[in-house]
Amino acid sequence: MEENMKDIISAQKLAFRYQGLDGAPDVVVFENLNLSIKEGSFTAVLGTNGCGKSTLAKHFNSILLPSGGKVYVCGLDTSDPDRLMAVRRNVGMVFQNPDNQIVANVVEEDVAFGPENLGVASPEIRRRVDVALKQVGMYEYREHAPHLLSGGQKQRIAIAGVIAMEPRCIVLDEPTAMLDPQGRKDVMDTVKRLNQEKGITVILITHHMDEAAQADRVVVLNKGTVAADGTPREVFSQVKLLHQIGLAAPDSVELCWELNQQGFDLPLTMLNPKECAQALCDWLKA
């Protein structure tokens, strides 16, 4: 068994199938998936509904166990029951619906839930909770009731609840799917800051191409296999491939691609409107 210590998470020949109900055939999600995530990186995982994104995420902290192959987290085998808590302590999960992951009636109590489960001493929990709430910019709301907060705020509370456990990696499963644009921006800013300032590895599962464009690396999943893998510029310039899978590139790339169909000759590496405007400007002047 070789494990690369620089990889915080690695899936090796991962296979997974959901058992079919009432004699129906099993649903095969992965047959042979290999994927590793570098410590400290910011990886976005894209894919259509049902391509196995969430299933993959659940393998990263032993919520689901592989039917074949192995998943290693910080060098620990996720299928080893003795290491379950160590794995979950290192990989925090944030889910789509903030309402269904907040346990307590008061913001700070909810953030304290994780460290309390780990058996951390009381003064240390207090410190971690304060630090975590400040990091997500929700410190002044610490005594509020979560149900009175906006979706974006609730989602940041959920993130604080995860970072209070001081994990090395956070997996976010479509954290912005239920949020308005402001909430999405706040959550994304928080996630990026945690990645850059604290060096926490981030795995972001998303449907929003503009969010994926902010990552260091984009992995596109299709039918349980990796269809594309690389920097956002490398992946999003493969517009045809993305369309075949049923995905789209960020709007700015799509625009340039459409213009190219009309006879323009623009590069497909502009990930945001600003870069796109610049490229168009340059092209028109030339």
Binding site: N61, I63, M85, R88, R89, G92, M93, F95, N97, D99, N100, Q101, I102, V103, A104, N105, V106, E108, E109, A112, F113, G114, P115, E116, N117, L118, G119, V120, A121, S122, I125, R126, V129, E143, H144, A145, P146, H147, G161, V162, M165
Partner: protein, 268 residues
């Protein structure tokens, strides 16, 4: 209508009552309720009332919200009052309707009964308004701790209670949403007989139950992700500790009980 439910509502604050240990508040609320039933007449009731008003004043809870919380109980109050009004003997007969008579004694009893219920409810409101549900369940858990020896799942019960409280507003919101969705498709909740209206609620309850189960499933996964594995080896951010406020509170309540018992002994 759904927004009126104030069950388990908590008003954050910094008053001495807020700062009291939840265990103190739980014990003293029980003591208060028992004392309320020892009170028999004007003076002892007056003393209890003075104590209650003082507590509300100290707690800085707006009295309006306590009054608002009473609204759903109007029916029970009226019912109790009517029962007491007609079924008390003695005193001077005031009005007679057929075989039912209203006497001065009945009037007095009805009045005291309503007063007692109102004070009882205000007192318990004061407990839930000044104590966060989490510290309330923490307090209960700690008070019931000796029962662990009898294999009562104390931690699990406390956890279930706090989660239930946490999800009340969420489920109310959801019920509202489903009702609106059904109304938009022509459902009628307001007219017809009671049976018709009850039937109209079925299409609300079914999706509500399904979504509650889905929520429970997701919550369980989220809790597992955060390393929850029951009460074993769990620590608390806020440790329960008796402070000077609690000692003061116990002193005041001892005086109250002594006062009420003495007054009651003299039939006042």
């Amino acid at each position: 209508m759904l927004k009126d439910i104030t069950l388990g509502q908590f008003f954050p604050g910094k008053s001495p009552i807020h700062r009291m240990d939840p265990r103190t508040k739980l014990i003293l609320t029980v003591v208060y309720i028992v004392t309320l039933f020892l009170a028999t007449n004007w003076f002892s009731y007056g003393l209890m009332m003075a104590f209650l008003v003082l507590c509300i004043k100290i707690s800085t809870i707006p009295p309006k919200s306590i009054v608002r919380g009473m609204k759903p109980l109007v029916f029970i109050l009226v019912f109790t009052a009517i029962l007491n009004l007609f079924y008390s003997d003695g005193g001077v007969e005031l009005v007679r309707i057929g075989s039912l008579a209203i006497t001065t004694e009945g009037l007095k009893r009805a009045f005291f009964m309503i007063w007692r219920i109102l004070m009882l409810i205000s007192g318990t409101f004061l407990l839930t308004y000044t104590t966060s549900p989490i510290s309330l369940t923490d307090g209960l858990e700690s008070l019931m701790n000796p029962l662990k020896k009898l294999h009562v799942p104390v931690h699990e019960l406390a956890m279930m209670m706090s989660i239930a409280l946490r999800f009340i507003p969420t489920l109310i919101e959801e019920t509202d949403k489903i009702m609106n969705a059904q109304k938009a498709r022509g459902a009628d909740f307001e007219t017809g007989s009671i049976i018709d209206r009850a039937k109209a609620l079925v299409p609300v309850l079914v999706p509500l139950f399904i979504s509650a189960f889905r929520r429970a499933d997701e919550l369980a996964t989220a809790m597992e992700c955060r390393c929850y594995q029951g009460g074993e080896g769990r620590t608390k951010m806020k440790l329960l500790r008796f402070s000077r406020v609690d000692i003061r509170a116990f002193e005041v309540c001892t005086c109250l009980v002594a006062g009420v018992v003495t007054l009651a002994a003299f039939g006042l």
